[in-house]
Symmetry: C2
Subunit: 320 residues, 2 copies
């Protein structure tokens, strides 16, 4: 019987489950709506049942070695989800222990950015690297930090909250309750906020002036920027400047050999990479200049989150 | 024959050498002027000779196991001092390999803040802690970061340059060539700069108005603040606000269980601790609130730097 690991990516809308081999290949996948259940226990029950069904549906006979779960506000140390803003169930949710009691295999939980970082190290562009950072750019900004070959978890398992470091005192309101957090500037919604501020301040004609705030997406702003829309281009320049300055600070603290940009906004390619790299270099202490690579994720987009989550277990099996 | 380790603290003015036992006791000490020699090699020669003489002068027969050196811009990975702004010898100086060839024992070099952090872990207030940070507050601001029981060195050995992260774009000129670095606000000279800015903006009577910029020290500003001088008190409040905000960001990234303030400015006690703690808590992400201790160093001030430097070797011997 071949051993297999389940990788789970819990998002506010969908939960995706995949079966991942030791080589990082996703051999089967399914998904279901995350919040269709009234209680967290019912959700847990369905998650366990979906994993079991997925294994049974394969043509090969697999034995499940463990489940890795990436979820916003997932805590590595406790296995709990704590105060996740994008889930309707509040407080501390015992995801790890709950799933273990259903499936009788080890479950490791962490936030989605940490999972992405482990996936990058085992199967992506960070193979062989000992010190690197993965920045996830989506509806928020997450970060997974690897120090000396190991995930940086901190004293309570919550390290890596780069998205909630300060850009500006009394800056933009953040979902976390604070103001001026990095993710209010650098994320898909952050880009939109920036575009609308620039639009309001300038006289420049722009296709953006025909969209409502609720109509336009970061992807569309990227599309307009590619067509030469000046305000959209300026919004990317500003976003890259803020991210680049913050990454220069992060380099001064952690001295990584590479920083990977992962997810949604990173797909804008040169539009986000070029200004970010330029402003990072400009703000780096001289000892770090021209040393740190800024790279796109080496994981294929569609299954990246699942493969990263499964890597939590495969790395653990490797180390034992 | 009893084994002993030499701890060396190289400052811009004096170099202090001590012999430190495994229990962190300093049994002998000497010092000499750092920059009296025209060449770095002559300095190395004297350093080696001072260590040998110090061992011979002891009543007990000691065998030297190694030398740990704390020096600004000292690189753990290479053993070199790189572009130290407070030394007259420029470029990359081969301190580790040079000293090894004189003394024929292992030499470990790192910056003074990393040495302080190891000292704190082995002999000070961080005994038993796995994740903590030491902030050195003197003429600059240094930081030594311990992650999961090990010094965070980063890919090139230069991690921990918190003093050169950004407080303000286009802020105060820094010795590193950048502007707005944390250490231009939070350090002994930073406090003086702040006091003189507040003094210029306000009408408040203050004893500070009788001193020239070159006359007044951070220690004197602390003394005036203790006597109730309003501008001096406001300078500490501002310094603590800047440090507290930055520490909240550092906690979000690293999630330490404690942060220690070490050296010069930390001796101002409540004047610096109280506003720093208050502004740190105010800016923390909710998941980190009321969790992180802000503590004075547990090492006795006078020999702390030497004991920390020696800890580099003692920890290494312990791990082998």
């Amino acid at each position: 019987m071949k051993t297999i690991v389940a990788g789970v990516d819990i998002g506010g809308t969908n939960t995706v489950v995949g079966l991942v081999t030791k080589d990082g290949e996703c051999v089967g996948q399914t998904s279901f709506s995350t919040q269709s259940h009234s209680s967290f226990n019912k959700f847990l029950e369905q998650l366990a049942s979906e994993i079991s069904k997925l294994i049974k549906s394969q043509s090969i006979d697999y034995s499940l070695s463990g489940v890795g779960v990436g979820v916003p506000n997932g805590c590595y140390n406790t296995g709990n989800i704590v105060d996740a803003v994008n889930l309707k169930w509040k407080g501390s949710l015992p995801l790890g222990s709950g799933l273990e009691s259903y499936l009788k295999v080890p479950v490791i939980v962490t936030n989605d950015a940490n999972a992405a970082a482990l996936g990058e190290m085992l199967y992506g562009g960070a193979k062989g690297m000992r010190n690197f950072i993965v920045i996830t750019l989506g509806t928020g900004l997450g970060s997974g930090i690897v120090v000396d070959g190991r995930l940086l978890l901190g004293s309570d398992g919550f390290a890596g909250e780069l998205g909630h470091t300060a850009v500006k005192a009394y800056g933009r309101k953040c979902g976390c309750g604070k103001s001026g957090c990095l993710e209010t500037y650098v994320s898909a919604p952050g880009l939109r906020r920036t575009a609308f501020k620039i639009l309001a301040d300038s006289n420049e004609p722009s296709a953006l002036r025909n969209y409502s705030y609720n109509q336009i997406s970061a992807k569309q702003i990227a599309h307009l920027a590619e067509q030469g829309d000046a305000i959209s281009l300026e919004a990317f320049e500003y976003t890259g400047a803020i991210l680049g300055m913050k990454l220069a600070d992060v380099v001064a603290i952690l001295s990584p050999e590479a920083i990977f940009l992962f997810g949604g906004l990173s797909n804008a390619g040169r539009l986000i990479f070029e200004p970010t790299k330029r402003h990072m270099e400009k703000n780096l202490l001289s000892v770090f200049r021209d040393k740190v690579q800024l790279l796109p994720s080496g994981l294929s987009g569609e299954n990246a989150a699942i493969i990263g989550a499964a890597a939590l277990i495969w790395q653990d099996l490797d180390n034992n």
